[in-house]
């Protein structure tokens, strides 16, 4: 607008400045408007409502009744699924996240090593990551079926023990871990890219110093990709806390209790070993219709997720920084 302004028609200075500042603000608000509305409607409002319902007795039918901390007491002290779910989550956070990072790193570095044949292998390694979780889980429950599944068939031929996998509380989480590792594609690419980003000169310098493969990894690769490792680990923790579809579907399919009418679906089959916190929200909120208690679990889940999100923003200020 300033392009056509001539001294004769230009309005007094001060109002113009204020006007343009307003216009600037309006412009920002206009650009941000979808997000402002969305965050208010789909994040802030429901979060407040969740906190509110967590203090109410509400079954979705009769009007909510204020019960204070009763739901909190119930979930923490009585509800039989809460602690098993939390324990499972801790197990998964330690084992799955560690293995995912290590395996992803190994596969990523392997692809870099492959050089010219990298393309084909990269494609093969990445593709499973895209498999819809329900489909992948059903496939793995079949593959790891203790009686007739191909994996145990092969183990049997080799004379190895045949675990009960998704049907055995001791093996159900390892089975889920294998399923997760099968979809490692995203981490592989991230690590591959991080490794390729390491300046070549550093390897050359290390080579001149006569460093072996291990020293090159230890003293060149590792320090360079450390931020990405932290990033992968923290995101892994957050993803693991959101683990829902795979354990739910695996439990349903393996137990044979898959949604026929009149069947009581047993969450966390076998023996609560695959329960996760998000599953509890579903169990309490959409099976038992104890909306108050469901909101308690939702808040616990929220607190844990935000804890790690803050950690990520702090530690990872390099790659997630808000400021530039």
């Amino acid at each position: 607008m300033s392009r056509v302004a001539s001294p004769a028609t230009s309005p007094p200075r001060a109002p113009s400045l204020r006007w343009s500042r307003w216009r600037g603000r309006l412009r920002i608000v206009a650009f941000l408007s979808p997000w402002l509305l969305g965050t208010g409607l789909f994040f802030i409002y429901p979060l407040i409502a969740t906190a509110y319902f967590s203090l109410m007795k509400y079954d979705g039918f009769t009007p909510p009744v204020w019960t204070g901390l009763t739901n909190w007491d119930y979930v923490i002290n009585v509800y039989p699924f809460f602690w098993p779910a939390l324990r499972n989550t801790i197990w998964l956070v330690f084992v799955v996240v560690t293995l995912r990072v290590l395996f992803g790193l190994a596969v990523g570095l392997l692809v870099v090593k492959l050089r010219r044949s990298a393309g084909v292998f990269r494609t093969l390694y990445y593709a499973p990551h895209l498999a819809p979780p329900v489909a992948a889980t059903m496939a793995f429950v079949f593959l790891l079926n203790p009686g007739t599944g191909p994996v145990n068939t092969i183990l049997g031929h080799l004379g190895l023990p045949e675990p009960g996998w998704f049907n055995d509380p001791a093996w159900s989480k390892p089975a889920l871990t294998i399923l997760v590792l099968w979809g490692i594609g995203d981490l592989m690419i991230i690590f591959m890219a991080a490794r390729l980003d390491v300046p070549l000169e550093q390897y050359e310098a290390a080579g001149l110093d006569g460093a072996g493969a291990f020293s090159r990894f230890r003293f060149v690769t590792l320090p360079n990709i450390r931020p990405i490792l932290v990033f992968a680990a923290v995101v892994g923790v957050i993803e693991t806390m959101q683990f829902y579809t795979e354990p739910l579907v695996a439990g349903k399919v393996a137990s044979g209790q898959i949604g026929g009418s009149g069947q009581q679906v047993e969450p966390g089959y076998p023996s609560k070993s695959t329960l996760t916190l998000p599953e509890l929200v579903y169990n309490l909120g959409f099976q038992r219709f104890d909306i108050g208690a469901a909101c308690v679990v939702a808040l616990v889940l929220f607190a844990l997720s935000m804890l790690f999100a803050v950690f990520l923003m702090r530690r990872g200020s390099g790659f997630l920084a808000a400021e530039d």
Binding site: A30, F31, L32, P34, W35, L37, G38, T39, L41, F43, Y45, P46, T50, L110, V111, V112, K113, L114, R115, A118, F121, Y126, L130, A131, P132, V134, A135, A136, M138, F142, P150, I154, D186, I190, A193, A194, L196, D197, A232, Y244, T245, K252, V253, I258, G259, G260, V281, Y282, G285, A294, A298, L301, F302, S305, M306, S317, F319, A321, A322, D324
Partner: protein, 301 residues
Amino acid sequence: MAEGTVIAADVRREGSTRRQPAGRSWSGRDALEWVAVHAIAVAAALFFILPVVFVLLTSVMTDQQALTRDLWPQSWEWQNFKTVWNTPGFLTWWRNTLMYAGLGTALMLVSSIPVAYALARFRFRGRNVVMMVVIATMMLPPQVVIVPMYLVWSRQFDLTGSLWPLIIPLAFGDPFSIFLLRQFFLTIPQEYVDAAKVDGCSDFRAMVRVVLPMAKPAVAAVALFQFFYCWNDYFGPQIYASENPAAWTLSYGLESFKSAHHTNWNLTMAATLLVMAPVIIVFFFAQKAFVEGVTLTGVKG
């Protein structure tokens, strides 16, 4: 620029810079290493491929054989796929999934791009707070807010039993996409935008005419991610669409397929493949966009 650097993920880049110097010949050690590395690569490939191979082999077995320990089909029952395809509802699931993913992705792009642009280009107080909220919501498990959201969609809007409660929110920006796009927009030099504005473009036109064409890879990546997120989503349809079979998606229907089909593993595995297939096919065509997209998520400072 510094912190928004995007790693070009193409292995070929390394391949070209590390091409063997012309004068140097292959030593025995190189050959040995080549064999070792490729042996490991093949072993790893088996881990990723064999599950699909077994699923495929089972999907063409007879009902009888699928429940035995046989690994190789005695006869190839390709009509299993036809049986699955002709299951009542299967086409509806396809249509619904496509609508959810397609419409959801389009709405997400329209709503997220301006937000990302504002966060990358405008300087304003509270921008860091906005960024932090974006990151926080990006990491929010959907289960945290599901209970009140379900009550709103069912009581206020009477939209449960459909996929609309999943599609409509995408018209209000998706945090993950906003974050990724913003990171990419930061890498586009400000001079281009300034030049456009000198030519009389508004910010909106500068975004559409200048920034978007340069950000095609990022836009393609977030679109693909969103499309696949919707395509694979199970929790959302489970909550909002489960009560109405006419609104089921493939992921949700696949599970019910198992209960309706009385665990014929062969048919279940055929259905599993039919649900996976489009994803894998799209991947082969859009591989580059995927790889670039994933790399974007690992953007570093």
